[in-house]
């Protein structure tokens, strides 16, 4: 690997031009600002801010997205700690101890350990992405359509069936997404499917509309119906912002352990930052010298899960960039941002557009540094954002959410679909059906279909192609076992 380092240096040359640095800076700031809003997770933040990049050239736009992505996560942890309203499932573990620390008047150190831990984990994970991506690219160049198809099936299985509280509800969500994915012109034959004569549907359903509908409109409908009349208690930011020597001593091993836990989960297409954050929480609880503090606001319980979240989210860039496979709702929205620029991530992207890939990777380092410099001192401003009265806050969120959906094609049809998805999101939230598999199914379904048909075209229609090639057969077998073994175990246990 002689060139990972020199490629990265070249990437810094691109990312450090004043203009690109400015886009990164804007991305980080806006990402944090939107991410701080309660109930707004990173996927929604990226989707809502997508229209801002319409007129940018691709490299600048993607650098801005990298900033938004990181900023949104940082902003989300601030809200989690001060309000105890985790914006996404990966923040639940942080909420456990972080909010308790804030209640004891230690909000400052909780925010600091989460910010510095995110920086440490994010930077180490970015180094690992830089080293690992070219290796995966080498491997992926040998993959044919059958292998890609098998990998996508693997991603579907883990995202829908393994993660979450129910296999059947995860799969239902996935299949709804797959169904939405076949709407429009079939890319292979040019035939229209399920468009019902609506011209706006021929281009297919945009991932942004689905993500904004499920996450923003669905959330607003749900909160208005079930939680708008609750008293909300925000913890005050008082006392020192800085961590004591003791805090540091207890935080750094947790950051490092969490990075080691989080990165592998993100980088294999097994999706979701939820499992590593809980694993990290459990690990810290077990290893701590202060077990009595757990459940009362232990700093390790914030440091670990936050770092694990960041490491796993960064690790998710490996399958996204090298294979074109998103493993989280946020990665799915990022992939759709790529596609809007006519860029299909995958091994060929590293050869065809090295400037873009390495500029993006370099900007991840820069984004992490910017976040650390900007956000700890600015935390007072972010806290003020949280003080906006709820009615205006949700009104404002929907103003931007509808703008995001409308400005894609300046189309009222998108707004109608948005409302329908909002009601769907409400139903899914109320009856505990996860929404991320639907978003991933929508964007990955058509890609999987294309790969399957390519593989079958090469084999002249012989469908054994998926199980006669060793790599694809192995991946499919693992996916099958992941799906079936837990079900069998449950049946055995019951009888």
């Amino acid at each position: 690997m002689p060139d990972a380092f020199s490629s990265l240096l070249h990437g810094f040359n691109i990312a450090l031009t004043p203009l690109n640095l400015l886009w990164g800076f804007i991305g980080v700031t806006l990402g944090t600002f939107i991410g701080v809003l309660p109930g707004v997770g990173p996927a929604l933040t990226v989707a809502m801010l997508m229209p801002l990049t319409i007129r940018l050239e691709p490299t600048g736009a993607l650098i801005m997205f990298a900033g938004i992505y990181y900023g949104a996560m940082y902003g989300g942890s601030t809200t989690t700690i001060l309000l105890n309203t985790p914006g996404e499932s990966a923040s639940i573990a942080t909420a456990l101890e972080g909010n308790l620390m804030a209640k004891k008047g230690r909000a400052g150190p909780a925010l600091a350990t989460s910010a510095i831990g995110s920086f440490v984990a994010g930077t180490i994970a970015t180094v690992l992405v830089t080293l690992l991506a070219p290796v995966v690219v080498e491997l992926a160049l040998k993959f044919g359509p059958a292998e890609y198809f098998a990998l996508m099936i693997f991603a579907f299985t883990t995202v829908a069936a393994v993660i979450g509280s129910s296999t059947v509800r995860g799969l239902t969500s996935l299949f709804l997404g797959l169904l939405l994915g076949v709407v429009g012109i079939d890319s292979q034959t040019g035939r229209s499917r399920f468009a019902f004569g609506v011209p706006e549907l021929l281009d297919g359903i945009d991932v942004v509309v689905l993500a904004v509908g499920l996450f923003a409109v669905g959330e607003a409908l749900y909160v208005a119906a079930y939680a708008s009349r609750l008293e909300e208690k925000m913890e005050q930011l008082k006392g020192s912002l800085w961590m004591s020597k003791e805090d540091w001593r207890r935080s750094w091993p947790a950051w490092l352990r969490a990075t080691a836990i989080g990165f592998p989960f993100g980088s294999i297409p097994a999706g979701g930052a939820e499992i590593p954050t809980f694993l990290s929480y459990a690990t810290e609880k077990k290893l701590t010298k202060h077990p009595e503090e757990f459940g009362k606001g232990a700093i390790e319980g914030v440091a670990g899960p936050e770092a694990a979240n960041n490491a796993s989210v960064t690790g998710a860039l490996v399958p996204l960039l090298t294979l074109g496979i998103p493993t989280s709702a946020t990665a799915a929205v990022l992939l759709s941002a790529f596609q809007n620029y006519g860029i299909q991530p995958g091994p060929l992207l590293f050869q065809a557009q090295p400037d873009l890939v390495w500029g993006l990777l370099a900007s991840l380092y820069i984004g992490n540094v910017l976040l650390l410099i900007l956000n700890l001192p600015l935390v007072g401003i972010w806290v003020k954002v949280l003080a906006i009265p709820r009615p205006l806050l949700y009104g404002g969120i929907l103003v931007f959410a509808t703008l995001g959906a409308y400005s894609l094609h300046q189309s009222v049809v998108d707004l109608i679909i948005l409302y329908v998805f909002g009601v769907l999101g409400f139903v899914m939230r109320r009856w505990d059906i996860p929404v991320a598999p639907a978003v991933i199914g929508l964007i990955l379904g058509p890609l999987a279909e294309t790969q399957a048909r390519r593989a079958l075209a090469i084999s002249q229609g012989n469908s054994a192609v998926f199980i006669t090639q060793p790599i694809s057969a192995t991946i499919l077998a693992i996916s099958f076992l992941l799906l079936v073994v837990p079900l069998i175990l449950r049946l055995v246990r019951r009888s």
Partner: protein, 166 residues
């Protein structure tokens, strides 16, 4: 064990959706060229999946309810009972915006949306909310039209906005 009606209805909705997709798939062309896989295959697979999942969900709903789901009682979830006005006002805002955006224009549509949503969340200060909506939407409008070169409909405010937008 008791059956859960809402869950059963949703399960059947998934099942019926699957049947509908199967019917739709059967009307699609099966011609697939070299791949011998036409545009009908993926929808057929999805239809099969939805039918199976709908059946599975229905079975769970009938045998004690969906597994590991959130409690049905909102108080157990830490929430309050379904607030009809909250849901309706947010919906009214979104539907009004759909009708207004190409007639009254972006600024007035978004201000109406913000006002209705705020009402759904319990705000009674209609004039204040609308004023804030106009200011916010106007700022966004000018930023998009003047700075990003992305056109948004000016609508009824065209004379005031000096010909900006479409």
């Amino acid at each position: 064990m008791k059956a859960k009606p809402a869950e059963l209805i949703l399960s059947l909705a998934v099942f019926i959706l699957g049947i509908g997709v199967a019917v739709g798939a059967s009307q699609l062309s099966a011609a697939g060229g070299y791949a011998r896989v036409g545009p009908n295959v993926a929808p057929a697979v999805i239809a099969g999946g939805l039918i199976l999942l709908g059946g599975w969900l229905a079975y769970e709903a009938l045998s004690g309810g969906w597994r590991n789901a959130v409690p049905d009682d909102p108080v157990e979830r830490g929430e309050h009972a379904f607030h009809v006005a909250g849901f309706v006002w947010v919906s009214v805002g979104l539907i009004a915006q759909i009708f207004l955006i190409h007639t009254a224009g972006f600024v007035l549509a978004q201000a109406t949306l913000l006002t209705c949503v705020a009402r759904g969340f319990g705000s009674r200060k209609v004039a204040r909310d609308f004023a804030i909506g106009v200011i916010l939407a106007l700022a966004v409008f000018l930023f998009f039209v003047k700075f990003l070169n992305v056109n948004l409909p000016a609508g009824w405010l065209r004379p005031v906005l000096g010909g900006a937008g479409i």
